[in-house]
Symmetry: D2
Subunit: 304 residues, 4 copies
């Protein structure tokens, strides 16, 4: 399949969707981003990389980092993680406290904020320096040694993190947060601020398309079983309130972030990342979603 | 792959799970079923059929009929159906009125009761005789001319259908039910009472594994696009409150019913049906779920 | 106290509030009412009657009838009624199904729709002809033999009663409705359609200001204990979502209806009724609420 | 009326209710209290004091302090307070985050935890030293110069205050908390820990029975208007999930605390306080509630 040509067509066909969505504005630093940007990268399990647009431009991966901390925590403590976090779609807004109250402080899944706070709490507990551990993981799997936190973004997020502090204290009141809440939210805001390119993200997610092994260096990241499970979790819980629509229209496991990035996986074939900052009403990149729908249509690569 | 042998192993290995779950008891007629039963059938897109257990024994398909009426309504009116019903997992119990109230009478998806009532309402509107239309569809696609409603079961369900009447009147108060509520609930209880074998169910679902065409007779049932979409809907919404766990442990689009049946699809490969009446806490066949987990493990056939 | 003068001042001072609220529009027949109307009547336990405005003009009492059926049911079966309906304010919209679902089909209190359906169900069960029994009660206590249902209004309500049917079927699914739902909703829509003047309403409610005895004819309507309890229920649950504000600003037990009527009670002293069709956002008469606030201010008669 | 005799009879008649309820156990320090204790004090607007039982024994007033900080904040900033907190009963558990989420961080009323945090936030903002200001208020109005915080209790509460921190951070995320959350929760836990006798509490609340003026020293505490309003708020919101039942069975404005105290007011007549540590399922003193029901029955003093 000529991925380069397909990506070029997608870039062309999605031009008309610019100007409809809105850049995330709840984090001041993110609101400054130039909305009119686009990048898309396919990485195949054979190691080929295809890109269009600003694929060397780093952006804030935001909630895509929830997959990273989930995979790390899963690899480190295994299925025990699910004593503290569920596996079911939430059916309501990504930061809702309602379900958390009804379900005794156990977040529905690892991809809502509360669930990612639990993964992060585990990483803090199981690693000497959580900041460093997360950074090392991302750098090694992406083969990109200079990926870093964006401290302007993390500072900006910390200033508007009261709802995440509320979530963390609330879970702590149920006994489901073990560490210090203030530090937990600090680590959380840092991994959300990770700054990466679509190329780096596609490389990072390749192990999920390849049964847990990074095909670029042959290193196992998680077990085959775990890789499948992360994919299942992305499909049922990865797209905020658009999980069903995205499965319906695109049909691949994926995770989005309010920085405008979306990264998806076709098991056995490839990972694909797209970035464009304008968001739809559910907080997913509007142009990015359209691009992945087109990708699904043009390649006929869906899991269904 | 030697499906026959795999099915036999599954039958053997799941013996230990009998006696843990409970037969559905909210419908008197279903409560009478002998719990200690098991059947499993694989149907491949090449037309091969493999079975173990009581695969010629008919049982009440219950909510599996939601896929039937959804596919029929989708084929008959297309994407307009989604003006009346959503595509997102519900995140709460399958017959909850709460979301219906918060979302102005639009059910979350076609596989909760409220959503299936909408599909049924469309079928009543678009067919001379809804009872006949549904029966004909099932008989033709299954290639089994004597499939029928179980009138004892439908009568039993009608006696305990007050919550479904509440759902229907509630949606009608929002303008989202067009026909007569009493007739609607009657048709609904009838299609839930359809009595089929695992072999018939596997044949019935083969078109979803084969891009919309029934490979057994070459007839197109729905478009390729629609077949993929029904699969996506099953994966994100087909298993009540176990959607995420099932995707995580089994990894295939599927739909369950409180009669103890579950039917799943591996696109491009096969459909697989299992039946065992004892249910887990979420209303899915307990032994059936274990059987499909084993199937996933032994065949390595998952969509992830 | 010169009630006549006070009522005249209230009539004058509330002129400025016309044109702000809106006449109820969810029932077609009610939407036809001329909004620019006002009546107010005080009836004292000594038997004196003071009125201003259109106090001889009948209007649809709507939810004020919930007090009537509650008092009747309480008188007929006593405290057993509270096995089927609670005593607590609902904290959410008057016809919400959410609490009903969370609380197993037991309505929060007798003054939300679900609760009034329960009272009505009891009256149907315990009287030969519920329509007649309710009419007789109202006529006798009001000393007004020609009060009647407004059949145009009841027909209009029956056409838009799907949500009440949903509520009734929902409670029936929990075993908390015993009679036929369709007849129940019919009786319910009839007592809501009762057409009365502010003078008749004030006379009707006098027994609640006089320890259960109608001072106009000396007949006991309910026990002293029950009269106090009905008042307590009105104070905590009588004003939809304005219970707290009304207690705060007016400070008397009262019940409102979307027909624009409000009737209140100062125990030991008087009952007071006001009518003006324009409603505030919570469904209570806007001018009527202002009139009662003024009444409270000018007379210094509050229970606090 | 011979209040002394009535109190003695109540003390005798409530003996049989001991051993049914349970002492609050979520705060370790409170769990240590001897459950088998009882005290009751009536203070009339004429300045007479009647007591039975351990009326000189101080106990933790807990949520009764919510009335204190509400009255203080109301007196200090007036009706502006209601831009930040509502006036309506909550209809759900006293520390629920659900309504807070649905209602954009505005607590339903000043007597749920979130609402009391808002009052406390105002006091911190408007007084040099909030700890001192609250203590001075209580000492002066009670005429008891040695009332103090119980630092063992406040420390114990601070250790289990994560849910209150969650509430405060959650409101802060909506802009409805202005000060530092950690200090806010500290002040909050301190005023909950105030240690007082039933006699002191009855004296403290007398101004609410006397149009805002403390009859014991002639000093105005709040305006007449405000006194009535505090009473209305207690009646509709003062008893957690028993607001309606308490109005129904007792019929007076009152506020309870999980320390086992309840203080009520009969406007124009008296205030009455009762203490007994065993709680019913809703967190109100079980024996205390029975005692107030008897008081209402024996004196016929209710507001209805």
């Amino acid at each position: 399949m000529d991925f380069q040509k397909i990506l070029e067509q997608i870039q062309e066909d999605t031009q008309k969707y610019f100007g409809i969505g809105e850049v995330a504005n709840y984090i001041p630093e993110l609101a400054k981003v130039n909305p009119n940007q686009f990048a898309m990268t396919v990485a195949t399990v054979d190691g080929d990389i295809y890109s269009v647009g600003a694929s060397q431009q780093r952006f804030s991966i935001q909630s895509i980092s929830k997959v990273i901390v989930f995979a790390m925590a899963l690899e480190q403590i295994g299925e025990r993680l699910f004593q503290r976090v569920g596996k079911e779609p939430s059916g309501s807004s990504f930061n809702s406290l309602i379900q958390l109250e009804q379900e005794q402080g156990i977040p529905r899944n690892p991809f809502i904020n509360a669930g990612a706070l639990v993964s992060t709490d585990e990483i803090i507990k199981n690693n000497k320096d959580a900041y460093e551990a997360i950074l090392n993981f991302v750098r090694e799997v992406s083969l990109s040694a200079d990926i870093d936190y964006d401290f302007k973004v993390s500072s900006s997020e910390l200033e508007t993190a009261d709802r995440n502090r509320a979530l963390a204290f609330f879970m702590k009141s149920f006994g489901n947060i073990q560490g210090d809440v203030m530090m937990l939210v600090d680590v959380y805001c840092h991994h959300c601020s990770l700054s990466m390119t679509t190329e780096e993200l596609s490389k990072l997610f390749l192990f999920l398309a390849n049964k847990g092994v990074n095909p670029l260096n042959g290193q196992r990241v998680v077990s085959e079983y775990q890789a499948k499970r992360v994919n299942a979790m992305m499909l049922t819980c990865g797209l905020y309130d658009n999980v069903g629509s995205f499965a319906y229209e695109v049909g691949m496991p994926a995770k989005s972030g309010v920085g405008g990035g979306i990264t998806g996986v076709i098991p056995g074939h490839l990972s694909v990342s797209v970035w464009s900052p304008e968001l739809n009403a559910s907080g997913n990149s509007l142009v990015g979603t359209k691009a992945l729908e087109l990708f699904s249509e043009l390649t006929d690569l869906t899991i269904f």
